[in-house]
């Protein structure tokens, strides 16, 4: 049976992982290459590296970071953040990424999804959607530029369009839940997951293993992103996977 994936996410700024990290036995807890390898050994099914560098100066180090991280990594590796053109994507693939995640650039120019998919295959294109519950009326709106800019676009409709333009997966972040630790937005996740025919990765709000169980069972997610829950040492990946297995969810464990 196809297993539910747990994807470890590294937020990187100027070549350094920026969220707090409490892994033991690491020479350098802020080094993306070392952390990615540690997550992989601990049981992560994939690694996502998000470049959140605010300045062009810091962004220059991205390709070097990707190259170093990819070198010793033998599980799928996605890179996102600041990819605006086919050339940007090509450079990241050349450096060793298996997939790119695009967000604002896809909203601004949806044809970019198709351009990357035609060149590298749909499996290599993840469209990331930052969605926020609309005030009053039901539904969710997609936001651009790291959640700063409302687009007026319905998140489900945008996910469908992304699929039709060639996206291979959707990385869905609930802006309402992100950073709260109160659990994933299962209603949002289910609306998107049931609305498209491609896999959906849920993100935002994880605070416990129970939250992962919920997003797979109630949210119909195909995968879930684990970021701060791992960085702050709240849950070891192996423990998380064992709890998922105990709840009857098919996971890759032991790896």
């Amino acid at each position: 049976m196809l297993t539910k994936r747990i994807i470890a996410c590294l937020d990187v700024d100027g070549g350094r992982v920026v969220k707090g990290v409490q892994f033991l036995n690491l020479r350098d807890a802020g080094d993306p290459a070392e952390l990615a390898a540690a997550h992989s050994h601990a049981g992560a099914d994939e690694i996502v590296l998000l470049d959140i560098s605010a300045t062009a100066e810091k962004r220059k180090t991205l390709l070097d970071t990707v190259r170093r991280t990819a070198r010793e990594l033998f599980i799928p590796f996605t890179v996102g953040g600041g990819i605006r053109t086919l050339d940007d994507a090509s450079a990241v693939f050349d450096a060793g990424a298996d997939k790119v995640s695009i967000n604002s650039a896809a909203l601004a120019e949806p044809g970019l999804i198709t351009n990357i998919a035609e060149r590298f295959g749909s499996q290599a294109v993840i469209v990331a959607i930052d969605a926020k519950r609309c005030n009053g009326a039901g539904g969710y709106e997609a936001f651009a530029r790291g959640g700063r800019t409302p687009t007026g676009r319905d998140a489900v409709a945008w996910a469908r369009e992304a699929e039709s333009r060639g996206a291979g997966e959707i990385l869905l972040t609930s802006m309402d839940r992100d950073g709260t630790g109160n659990g994933f937005d299962c209603t949002l996740t289910r609306a998107i997951s049931d609305g498209v025919r491609i896999p959906v990765i849920a993100s935002g709000g994880a605070g416990s293993a129970t939250h992962f169980v919920e997003v797979f069972q109630e949210g119909h997610a195909d995968a879930a992103l684990a970021a701060s829950i791992l960085h702050y040492g709240l849950t070891e990946l192996g423990d998380l996977k064992q709890e998922l297995a105990a709840a009857g969810i098919s996971v890759r464990w032991p790896c």
Partner: protein
């Protein structure tokens, strides 16, 4: 020397990286003569079946035929495995290598496609490629088309029905998943392939 055949269908550096880790001498090449002389040949690839047209138009298919003809072990990965068969409904006018018989077809409409993620292998026959691998190991797939179970199938996978995950005949091997992305299990499979003699 192991030739990793470059026909513009991505995913080559990760295969090379995995072979480097195993201490193997591997080159990514689009040079037909180099492929024809190689000790072993790997055709990786992801994407559209039509991309395999390049293999014919550049003389690489003839070079691969020559290498196979003198007994060089051959491994097709993902699209490379599908290309070892006759054809694919993804691009019906493009001919495959035809060393295995059958056609790759799209997943049924009742499951999400592409089939992305870690799924379990069911080993179904003796295999040199899968030697010493756990009976129900997890490997990483990403594909929308699949090969039905055939006589040479040595491992299957279940997703919207059972399909061929690994095929093997003599020195010819095809894997639908990505060993270079399947952690220690995948590295073991590649190690088995590298250990075969011509």
């Amino acid at each position: 020397m192991i030739a990793i055949v470059d026909y513009g269908a991505g995913n080559l550096t990760s295969v090379k990286k995995a072979l480097d880790r195993l201490g193997q001498t591997a080159v990514i090449t689009a040079d037909a003569e180099q492929v024809a002389r190689a000790e072993k040949v790997i055709v990786p690839g992801v994407g559209h079946f039509a991309a395999t047209r390049t293999l014919c138009s550049t003389g690489l298919k003839d070079a691969i035929d020559a290498a196979i003809g003198r007994g060089a072990p051959f491994l097709g990965i993902c699209l490379g495995m599908q290309w070892m068969f006759d054809s694919s409904s993804e691009a019906p006018d493009v001919r495959g290598l035809g060393v295995f018989h059958g056609e790759s077809v799209h997943f049924p409409a009742d499951v999400k496609s592409p089939h992305v993620g870690w799924n379990q292998l069911q080993l179904s026959a003796d295999s040199r490629l899968l030697r010493d691998m756990p009976a129900e190991c997890f490997v990483y797939f990403t594909h929308s088309y699949r090969i039905p179970v055939v006589e040479q199938t040595v491992a299957t996978c279940e997703y919207g029905g059972i399909f061929s995950a690994v095929v093997e005949r003599d020195h010819l091997f095809g894997v639908q998943f990505h060993p270079e992305k399947s952690g220690p299990v995948g590295i073991k499979l590649l190690e088995n392939f590298c250990g075969l003699s011509c």
